[in-house]
């Protein structure tokens, strides 16, 4: 395959940045998108040019490290992570536009790499359960109905990649935050910190400068893990009930 890549290049956080066009040839349809990027970078390195920086780690669609806004979609045209996107999703002669996630809370570090530490800080605000470490608990010690376990697991499949923020016209992080609040709100282990969790995680989400949700559903449509908007409704319920019931004045 012969392609034209239009890639956002930006030296550092304070650089203005801009698009640079690279022609590339000899791309196999079996390659993953990131392997195609590797080919480009090898060519750039051979020419003594700075390779294009992008985030990636597991390349198995489970870590949430890869990003890239490809042809107007986070993670490209398929509902999957960029690392699981293959070049067969494109045609010979295509021009592919590759940009970083765009959000005030996701500042560009270099080229296509953005700093998603704001997500970490939302988790630090309450996305955990405090338990005493000790012996391994017996399986099924706490009975949880299968339906609840499944639903909590569906929310827990969020890998925190930030595609929801990238897709949202308001750069809202509500799908992410709601998935993280939901997965614990539904389980017995999450009940102790349930109210403070909702309050603190929402407060942190706002403090990071993410936008508000307008219920367009773009996040759900683009999420590589299919996290549903029902999570956002649940987060709203959790937040309202925590505001009314919690002891924090």
């Amino acid at each position: 395959m012969k392609l034209t890549l239009k890639i956002w290049r930006q030296k550092n956080a304070s650089d203005k940045g801009g698009f640079v066009t690279y022609p590339i040839d000899g791309i196999s349809t079996d390659m993953s998108f990131l392997e195609m990027m590797d080919v480009l970078n090898e060519e750039l390195s051979a020419k003594d040019e700075d390779p294009v920086h992008f985030d990636h780690d597991c390349r198995e669609g489970i870590c949430g490290m890869c990003s890239l806004y490809i042809n107007g979609h986070p993670h490209g045209p398929k509902q999957t992570t960029t690392c699981q996107l293959h070049m067969r999703s494109f045609s010979d002669g295509d021009t592919i536009t590759i940009e970083p996630w765009r959000a005030a809370a996701f500042p560009v570090v270099k080229d296509l790499v953005v700093d998603r530490a704001s997500f970490d800080r939302i988790i630090q605000a309450g996305g955990y359960v405090s338990v005493n470490t000790g012996g391994v608990p017996d399986a099924n010690e706490i009975p949880i109905p299968k339906r609840i376990a499944d639903e909590a697991f569906d929310s827990a499949t969020c890998i925190g990649c930030g595609a929801c923020v990238a897709a949202c016209k308001n750069a809202s992080a509500m799908l992410f935050t709601s998935a993280k609040i939901s997965q614990l709100a539904m389980l017995p282990q999450g009940q102790v910190e349930r109210m403070t969790r909702a309050e603190k995680m929402v407060a942190q989400m706002d403090a990071e400068g993410f936008g508000a949700c307008t219920n367009t559903g773009a996040c759900e449509a683009e999420c590589p893990k299919g996290i549903s908007l029902t999570n956002i409704a649940r987060m709203n319920r959790e937040y309202f009930s925590a505001s009314v019931k919690s002891e924090n004045v």
Binding site: T97, A103, N170, A203, A212, T214, S243
Partner: protein
């Protein structure tokens, strides 16, 4: 900050204000369209004028009307506040942005709402202001003297630009409602596999029915009176 202001100034709290004011305005629309159906009654406007008199003098209606004014103003101010936050959340946009598979209405609620607001200002000047403070003629019915708002309505809808403007404004209202109705419930946290499909269907039917009924009034008057 007290817990109330803290909650209501969070992004979710501000959405709550949008949702509650929006739902109240939906209730208002039901009342408004039902009452105005009297325009179709072939009695020279007697029932409509008596209804208009009741709506401007009854104390209970007065309270509801103030709640409506507050809802409109609140809905507008909070939407501006939220829009400012939302715009600031993405200072640098994308070079290539393909609209994903979301509805046109959901992505353009601000523009649709602004057009509805402009319509509302014109609409209130034409009828609401005239009814309250304008030099409106009086008519005599069995019950006494009534302001003849019916004639004002008939006169206004002799103008084809007015009629076309009203019909277009109602189309924008329809789009605004098509997203707003179900969105308000989602914001309240009311999303459930049992009743959410029904809310969505009712929302779509409502967003078509109410604006069509409203739009039919100027069209009916224009064609029957000229």
């Amino acid at each position: 900050m007290s817990w109330v202001t803290k909650t209501l100034s969070s992004t979710i709290g501000r959405k709550l204000i949008m949702s509650l004011t929006g739902l109240f305005l939906i209730l208002f629309l039901i009342g408004h369209v039902s009452g105005n159906m009297l325009l179709f009654k072939d009695d020279g406007g007697e029932a409509f004028n008596i209804y208009a008199h009741f709506m401007t003098t009854n104390p209970a209606v007065k309270i509801l009307s103030y709640l409506t004014y507050i809802s409109i103003i609140g809905h507008v101010i909070w939407s501006i506040w939220l829009t400012k936050t939302n715009k600031a959340a993405r200072p640098i946009g994308y070079g290539q942005s393909t609209p994903p598979s979301t509805s046109v209405a959901s992505r353009n609620m601000g523009i649709l709402g602004t057009i509805v607001l402009i319509f509302l200002v014109v609409h209130m000047k034409t009828f609401w202001y005239e009814m309250h403070w304008g030099g409106i003629p009086f008519v005599n019915y069995a019950g006494g003297e009534f302001k003849d708002l019916y004639t004002v309505v008939l006169f206004a809808f002799q103008n084809e630009f007015m009629v076309i403007g009203y019909v277009i404004a109602m189309a924008f209202l329809a789009f605004h409602l098509s997203h707003g109705f179900s969105s308000a419930f989602q914001t309240l946290g009311l999303n459930h596999r049992k009743y959410s499909p029904a809310i969505h269907t009712i929302g779509i039917l409502f967003s078509i029915l109410v604006p069509v009924l409203f739009a039919s009034m100027p069209v009916y008057i224009y064609f029957t009176q000229s």
